[in-house]
Amino acid sequence: MSLALGRRHLAIPVALFVGLGALAPLCVLVVFSVFTVDDFDLVPDLSGRAWAELVTSGTYRHLIGKALLSGAATAVITAIIGYPVALALARLPTAWKGVAVVVLLTPLYTGEIVRIYAWRLVLGAEGLVNAVLEGLGLVDEPLKVLLFTPFTTGLVLTYNNLPFMVLSIWVSAEMVDRRLIEAARDLGARPIEAFFKVVLPLTTPGLAAGIFAVFALAAGEMLTPSLLGGTAGATAMAMIDSLFGTAYDWPMASALALGLLAALFGCASLAAFLILRLKGARAVLGRAR
């Protein structure tokens, strides 16, 4: 490079933006978590009260565990459903791929609240599913389990996050060299063997990225569980929100948020570590380097 300032120096303004926008607020959480609330005013008197409460209270631990479980379950379900969809998309004729992206992403254009609302119309006592079931004579009275239960939360979390999982796996699947599959077939592998020995290993980076992303997105979701989950819809996020807004207990809100983040990233790093040890991931990432 003849110039002293190169392309790589663009990293500096970007890092500043992310630093001020995301890292600074997270540092504020750390600071506020050891402050004290005095008569609805946050004062810098150091206290470990919030952290002690976080560790000793069963409620908080339960809520964090629930968030992790919900994230993990959504990630696994979307991966199982999304994988065949992504493979099918990769086989589309090129001219159709642009259309497929639009079809896949359009449901995301609707706001979070709209999707929640639309599912109420589908799953409610007088909704589509119950109307069809009653019309077919399969049930005598509306199924109550469809709406305001953990089932609803799971279904809608899957719905909200499926496009991200599909996109992520799809990108990986597009990069698989088709000649490798043909070579496997020529060497006598049955289609199912070619899938497990060639396609699946080579798409592990996309699968890993999808699981990572969906895990983070689903575990931190607040609106879907609280508006559709019924009595079981209490989440760590809703708790943080009410500690922040209604209770004005900012130290506790900060401590709980940090606890949730620590648990989330602990699990995510573990998953990443395990997936990066797989042979396929190493082959793909090694080639890219």
Partner: protein
């Protein structure tokens, strides 16, 4: 295309569009109660919508917020992707992780933390804070989109341009940028889309600004109403229209370019590099 693949795609499309179709059906249903069986066709919910002033202003606000978010997302995403794929970047992994932080941290945690920070600095909650926070969340998506194209580009083209005497800026503008057009358009739309669909960030940072999602959320919490359906269908139709229009424009240009390249390809680089 095998038959199984087609069946999988059909099933996925039905799952993704079922709620939206039901939403649309009820927006034409002649009853304030949203229940099956349907009771006849009407356009009165759309008429009510057209008369609702708070929806109008909400729609305008959302639109005005989404455009700068799209632009900023595109520019910052491009910068991040260029840096991330640049030769000789130290701390590459750390930088990549840093760019992904706003995506990995749950939006609500991030927004609450930002609101706490804003309570102590000169920037107030409001349109500017909202635009910056929504951009921050969209930048990881844009970075991934643009980097994915950048790593696949033939870097020998850049080297060739430099060897032929192009300045770094010329080689960027004339060689790199034309190949990134699609990815940049994608980055812009991701910013706009995430901004329009966002409710969480707006809940904590919008201040007195009232984007459509906040207005709708306060209405939805109270009751289900057909005119809200009508509005969602209208918004959805509009976005689909924009997407389809831009996609067909892109295709048309691509087709013209292919036709144009077949004629005198030799004269083009000369006029391109002054």
């Amino acid at each position: 295309m095998t038959r199984t693949a087609l069946a999988v795609l059909a099933a996925a499309t039905v799952f993704l569009y079922l709620p939206l179709v039901v939403l649309a059906v009820f927006s034409f249903n002649d009853s304030a109660l949203m229940a099956f069986p349907l009771s006849g066709f009407t356009l009165k919910w759309y008429a009510e919508l057209a008369a609702n002033a708070s929806f109008h202003s909400g729609f305008v606000t959302s639109f005005l917020v989404a455009q700068p978010v799209g632009l900023l997302t595109m520019v910052i995403g491009l910068m991040a992707a260029l840096a991330l794929t640049a030769p000789g970047l130290r701390w590459r992994l750390a930088f990549g992780v840093m760019v992904l932080v706003p995506f990995l941290v749950p939006k609500s945690v991030l927004s609450i933390a930002q609101a706490m920070l804003l309570s102590r600095v000169f920037l107030d909650r409001g349109a500017l804070a909202l635009i910056l926070a929504q951009t921050l969340v969209a930048v990881p998506f844009a970075t991934v989109l643009v980097s994915a194209v950048l790593v696949r580009l033939d870097h020998r083209l850049i080297e060739a341009a430099r060897d032929l005497g192009a300045t770094p800026w010329q080689s960027f503008r004339l060689v790199l940028l034309p190949q990134l057009k699609g990815a940049l358009a994608g980055a812009f739309s991701v910013g706009v889309i995430l901004s329009l669909a966002d409710l969480t960030i707006a809940m904590f940072l919008a201040g007195r600004t009232q984007p459509l999602s906040l207005i709708v959320a306060s209405e939805f919490r109270r009751e289900l109403r057909p005119d809200l359906n009508a509005m969602q269908v209208a918004v959805l139709a509009l976005t689909v229209l924009i997407v389809v229009a831009s996609e067909s424009y892109r295709r048309l240009r691509a087709r013209r370019r292919r036709r144009g390249l077949a004629v005198p390809a030799a004269s083009r680089p000369v006029e391109a590099l002054p």
